[in-house]
């Protein structure tokens, strides 16, 4: 693993990562290090339990990725199982229902009127009804209004972006004249892709 110039070959000559690695493996005391008090140690660990690796410096995270990327070669059985798992998950993504349908179901489950949703979003009630029925495309709304709608009805954020993409794809398919039962679907336009990304960004950044 060590190259002729003494660096660790795993890091492809990345000087920063090599420097971190040298610091890690060379600065090992041979003498005893007093153990922190066990209560103090538990306190520090508990304070850290609420954070994750995103608080670490970017070069440290790169080092972690590099040192953890080695892995093990999958057996044929393992590869087959993982590939089947990936395919199952992707198949489910393809059967995702359009966002307006999910939002309508949430509204009804919460026993909330379309008028109330319209009031919250600052829209006409007739427009909300048209959006829910798919007669008006959600692409007519801004990302902020869509996210407000999702958050107001407390829809699962993890499914919302793919549901939005599904709704926009259906709209595009209809515009392209692709039959409803056809296996092909239209591609999202650049504008629609940007809308989905913006909604995703607002949802994951916690816009509320």
């Amino acid at each position: 693993m060590t190259t002729t110039d003494g660096t660790d070959g795993r890091f492809d000559g990345d000087a920063e990562l090599d420097a971190i690695h040298r610091e890690l493996v060379s600065d090992i005391d041979s003498g005893d290090v007093p153990e922190p008090d066990s209560d103090d140690r538990a306190d520090v660990e508990r304070l850290l339990a609420g954070v994750d690796s995103t608080v670490l410096r970017p070069r440290v995270r790169r080092y972690l990725d590099a040192v953890l990327s080695g892995g093990e070669i999958p057996t044929a059985n393992a590869r087959s199982r993982l590939t089947a798992a990936a395919r199952r998950s992707l198949a489910k993504r393809r059967t995702v229902r359009p966002l307006p349908v999910l939002l309508q179901e949430r509204r009804i489950a919460r026993d909330e009127s379309a008028a109330r949703v319209a009031e919250v979003l600052g829209l006409d009630e007739s427009r909300v009804a048209a959006l829910e029925a798919g007669n008006t495309s959600v692409s007519a709304l801004s990302a902020e209004v869509i996210v407000h709608w999702i958050e107001h009805l407390d829809l699962d954020r993890s499914v919302a972006p793919s549901s939005l993409a599904r709704a926009l794809t259906l709209t595009q398919s209809a515009r392209s004249g692709i039959a409803a039962g056809a296996s092909e679907t239209a591609e999202l336009s650049t504008k629609d892709r940007e809308l989905v990304e913006e909604v995703r960004r607002l949802l994951t950044s916690g816009s509320s």
Partner: protein, 188 residues
């Protein structure tokens, strides 16, 4: 094709994206599973990775590349899957009177934003090496022997490095009034 294109395709549900993602990340995930669940047999680790892959793709909309790499995010799915596997397995084996699982420290829920900020600042003040060892032991949840194998040093060396890093962080936090003001008089 770069990761961004591959992940976009997976988000759209493209079937070909599955085998490609598995080719790219299966070795990392299986190796990582060996680190976090080295006490379990290969069949169990493969099941953990299977769950992790399925969940990673189901929740792909939550992956934010500006926060971290896809590999780091996928490793997180392996950790959750490993925890679920242990929980499920414990439920089954506890009927036979097996030992309870090791206690996991729960994060304190009463911490203010100030204390969290102090923890962030304390971590930021540590050296790269200290951050790495805390990252590997706490955030990646790897046992010290797995870290030792990764770094090519002894298990004892890892333990010493980790103890020193926690000690330095603890000293930093004990000097920070944002921490002592909240924790003084609290349960320790």
């Amino acid at each position: 094709m770069d990761d961004e294109d591959l992940i976009s395709a997976a988000r759209a549900g493209a079937d070909w994206a599955g085998p490609m993602l598995v080719s790219l990340y299966a070795p990392t995930l299986l190796g990582y599973a060996r680190g976090v669940a080295g006490d379990l047999d290969q069949t169990a680790r493969e099941m953990i990775c299977e769950w992790a892959v399925e969940r990673a793709l189901a929740k792909l909309d939550l992956f934010d590349p500006t926060i971290g790499s896809f590999a780091a995010w996928a490793r997180g799915q392996v950790r959750y899957a490993a925890a679920d596997y242990r929980r499920d397995h414990h439920r089954l084996t506890s009927l036979d009177g097996a030992d309870p699982p090791e206690q996991v420290l729960e994060p304190r829920e009463d911490l203010s934003d100030e204390v969290n900020a102090a923890v962030h600042d304390g971590l930021d003040a540590l050296s790269d090496a200290d951050q790495v060892i805390i990252g590997l032991r706490l955030f990646e949840e790897l046992p010290s022997r797995a870290v030792a194998t990764l770094l090519g040093v002894s298990d004892e060396a890892v333990r010493k490095r980790y103890s020193r890093a926690l000690q330095r962080l603890g000293e930093q936090l004990n000097r920070d009034r944002r921490v002592t003001n909240q924790l003084r008089g609290g349960a320790r």
